[in-house]
């Protein structure tokens, strides 16, 4: 009897990716000085399950690779090997490589053998230890066998250049870049055509080629990087010194010759592979990956159990109701009423639980940032601490999926351009260690994600000058601070001076804003020169349900989010004061709170309560400000389904959304912080 193993693949992939996440966070948390054996154990176990799983399913490439990784970890676990930063970096690199391999297998696309071989090589060098590296008996014959094109004495660079499919659309032409490269030295170009699709599927606007370039001669690496600067975000590439490459190969062969206990084949094979695969990368089918990735969701079993219980209850209620209905007589009216009440409760609970399934903690997005910070701060030579706040804030799955790219962009911005170099920070009287904070919280019907840094902030004057230079605004335009910061999000503002754009990748903040707006959200930037910047993303919680308090103002009904209500009181004349004859305040337990009259700011003609003593004061809090919202009456508490006003209409100041009441009419949900702004105008 044969079992179709393919049905388990999805589970394997999900588990493996989880395992990789565990390994990654484990590696990042390793404290070099004092390594906890348990930490290593956790990493080891994760690696071991991946190895076991991939072996079972016949993904030998993965299991072979993991085996080497595991061996290294095993030695660390037993204390035979010291945990060093370089070793950890190699391990982190391998985790990335494994993830790529698994993604490739999952999408049934070609595995990038070149990078696998490279990482394998790095692991094996690490495994064989540094001690032997002092005697690199380069065996000319062995090297010649491996790669005739590269000799140890050769000076130059091996460049692997694998553009993404959309490279040509960004206006970059590889031919032009190669021409420029060839002015630097003798250039060998090997093109890999394997990524080319069939003629009928071929879209001439897409780039499916990749290249292996050997640039011979004494060339500065910066000169090469300059040429590829524009395409950095649109390709996978590596630049390696030919001498290094040869030396690495030679080292390995030398190690093999000395160390007989290791099977010589095993050691040489990756090197041969390295030469043989011509370091070709097949074009990544990213769109395909995205489509496949979004097909499933992992749900907590307890959530499903609740759901099943509720459906059970619903069925019971339904059968009870149909029994009542079958032989209905007036005497059964009470029974019918209670049945309907039950039905209502169950429906609401069921609705809530179904919504809950789609909700994921934002930590799914946040979890990648410690690694990003680690890598980037090392690369940039900065000291940066990343703080994550509100990781358990739940958001809709679609939001989780779509927000991560813009967020990566913003965090990279903060790390790259926001935080200064340690020396500059000390000179500015700030702690050497910069802080980037990622915070998520709910506000009204929105989820707010903030990226804060305590870096150098943005120079308003500079921004304005730049915008005038670019012709985005008039020379004598008078702009508020907010409008100046808005400039950053304008298309075409990305500057060569890199005031804000991400390392010259040519993808500006306008793209970030467009993505966020596509999600129905908005983005704001506040910055103070020398103190840091805060970028806040406001996203609507689609399908979200809100606990609301309905209030009456005249014959209109509004919903106040229950979470922002502190209390509701009747004010007496004694409590009310006027500031400068105009602004009204009232005293509540020693605090003077401003009064916002709903009927005034929303211009409700039919309001019943004119005098403050006639109506009710709802004490609300939003974004750190507390104030009294003056309404006619409180109606009742209920859960409301948040509907977007913007889908067919537009954003209305002071209103965060709308909902449909039981009688089918529409009620507006108040935006508590927005009302203060409105009343101040």
């Amino acid at each position: 009897m044969s079992i179709d193993m393919a049905q388990f693949h999805q589970v394997f992939f999900e588990e493996s990716f989880e395992g990789l996440d565990i390994m990654e966070s484990g590696l990042l948390n390793l404290d070099m000085g004092d390594v906890d054996a348990e930490d290593i154990n956790t990493i080891f176990r994760a690696a071991h399950s991946i190895k076991g799983g991939s072996g079972t399913f016949g993904f030998t490439a993965v299991s072979d690779f993991t085996h080497i990784l595991e061996t290294l970890l095993d030695e660390m676990r037993d204390g035979r090997r010291k945990v060093t930063q370089p070793a950890v970096n190699v391990l982190l690199g391998s985790v990335d490589c494994l993830r790529e391999m698994l993604t490739a297998i999952q999408n049934e696309s070609a595995v990038d053998n070149a990078s696998v071989a490279e990482h394998k090589l790095a692991l094996e060098i690490e495994l064989k230890g540094g001690a032997l590296l002092t005697s690199p008996h380069a065996e000319p014959a062995a090297i010649a066998k491996i790669n005739t094109a590269i000799s140890l004495n050769e000076q130059g660079w091996a460049i692997t250049f694998c553009p993404h499919v959309d490279l040509l659309k960004t206006g970059n032409d590889p031919v032009r870049m190669f021409r420029e490269l060839s002015t630097l030295g003798e250039l060998e170009i090997i093109v890999d055509l394997r990524g080319l699709p069939d003629f009928y599927d071929y879209n001439p606007e897409e780039c499916h080629l990749s290249w292996q370039l050997n640039l011979l001669g004494q060339v500065n690496i910066e000169a090469i990087e300059d040429i590829f600067d524009w395409v950095e975000g649109n390709c996978d590439m590596s630049i390696q010194s030919l001498a290094d490459k040869a030396a690495k190969v030679a080292q390995l062969s030398a190690v093999d010759l000395v160390d007989d206990s290791v099977n010589p084949d095993e050691g040489v094979s990756p090197a041969i592979q390295l030469a043989a695969v011509e370091t070709a990368k097949s074009t990544k089918e990213e769109s395909k990956a995205a489509a496949k990735g979004s097909s499933s969701i992992r749900v907590d079993t307890s959530k499903i159990d609740t759901l099943i219980n509720m459906v059970g209850e619903l069925v019971i209620t339904q059968s009870m109701l149909s029994l009542v209905g079958e032989h209905f007589e007036l005497g059964k009216l009470d029974q019918l009423k209670s049945g309907l009440a039950q039905l209502e409760r169950h429906t609401r609970e069921l609705q809530e639980s179904v919504m809950n399934i789609r909700m994921l903690p934002i930590s799914f997005v946040f979890s990648r940032f410690p690694r990003l910070t680690h890598d980037l701060s090392t690369k940039l030579g900065k000291k940066i601490e990343l703080k994550l706040v509100g990781e358990n804030t739940e958001v809709d799955k679609t939001v989780v999926e779509l927000i991560s790219d813009p967020l990566v962009h913003l965090v990279r911005n903060s790390l790259d351009h926001g935080i200064e170099m340690p020396a500059d920070r000390i000179a500015a009287g700030k702690p050497e260690m910069g802080t980037v904070t990622l915070e998520a919280y709910h506000r009204g019907g929105n989820i707010v994600i903030e990226v804060r840094d305590d870096g150098k902030g943005l120079d308003k004057h500079k921004l304005k000058t730049k915008a005038i230079e670019k012709g985005l605004i008039e020379k004598d335009a008078i702009l508020t601070d907010k409008q100046i910061f808005e400039l950053i999000f304008m298309p075409g503002f990305s500057t060569a001076e890199q005031v804000t754009d991400v390392s010259g990748r040519g993808v500006g903040m306008d793209v970030v804003r467009r993505n966020i707006q596509a999600l129905g959200g908005n983005i704001e930037l506040i910055s103070e020169l020398g103190k840091g910047s805060t970028i806040a993303i406001h996203l609507p919680l689609t399908l979200a349900i809100l606990d609301g308090q309905s209030v009456a103002v005249g014959d209109e009904t509004f919903i106040v989010p229950l979470g922002s209500i502190i209390e509701s009181i009747n004010v007496t004349d004694k409590m009310v004061n006027r500031v400068a004859g105009k602004g009204e305040t009232f005293r509540l337990r020693g605090d003077y709170l401003p009064i916002v009259r709903m009927h005034e700011i929303f211009d409700v003609k039919s309001a019943k309560a004119e005098k403050l003593t006639d109506g009710l004061m709802v004490v609300v809090e939003g974004q750190g400000t507390r104030y009294g919202l003056f309404v006619d009456d409180l109606l009742g508490q209920q859960q409301v389904v948040i509907k977007s006003l913007e889908a067919n209409y537009r954003r209305v100041e002071g209103v965060s959304g709308a909902t449909i009441l039981g009688d089918g009419s529409v009620a507006l949900i108040l935006d508590i912080p927005g009302l203060v702004r409105l009343s101040n105008q």
Partner: protein
């Protein structure tokens, strides 16, 4: 997809086969004037029902209603075109229009006095709206057509549905150069 046979049958049921250039418009009246909208933009016709007012917006934006779970704004066309206000009666009609704006489908109801007819207009018979300068705003008028000796002003639904400040359509999206 309708197969060719069904298509032919469909055609044959028409007494007069319409020319390819014919467009169908739903005509309605506002005061003494007659307007038309492309019938493909009309989702449904409803009677007036009370709306939920939206604070601090122009008076022609009457408010929002619940249209089968979606929040849909209602615009008074008389007020939008400065034709004076009319009392709403149970006979007042709301025409629900739908258009694609910035790749997003947008729905909106417009209040009109009464719906008159569905008229066929040949593309060639549509005249451009005359230019009155700033005296009369013709920004929503696509063209003029005459139907049975009456003049019908054909409205640009897309333009109409773009409320002030709804979309920043003015800023075209430029692709980055590099």
């Amino acid at each position: 997809m309708i197969n060719a046979d069904a298509d032919n049958k469909d055609q044959s049921t028409h007494v007069e086969p319409r020319s390819i250039n014919a467009l169908q418009f739903l005509s309605f009246s506002l005061g003494n004037e007659e307007y038309g909208v492309n019938i493909l933009r009309v989702q449904e016709i409803r009677s007036w029902e009370p709306v939920s007012r939206i604070p601090n917006v122009p008076s022609y934006e009457k408010g929002v209603v619940n249209l089968r779970g979606a929040i849909v704004p209602i615009i008074d066309l008389r007020e939008r075109f400065d034709l004076g206000r009319a009392e709403y009666t149970p006979l007042t009609v709301v025409v629900v229009l739908q258009a694609e704006i910035n790749n997003k489908s947008r729905t909106m109801g417009v209040v009109v006095d009464s719906v008159s007819d569905v008229v066929d207009v040949d593309k060639e018979n549509i005249q451009r709206a005359p230019d009155f300068g700033t005296k009369v705003s013709t920004e929503f008028i696509n063209g003029l057509a005459s139907v049975n000796e009456r003049m019908v002003m054909l409205l640009d639904v897309e333009r109409l549905l773009k409320l002030d400040g709804i979309d920043d359509c003015s800023t075209d999206v430029h692709e980055d150069e590099h």
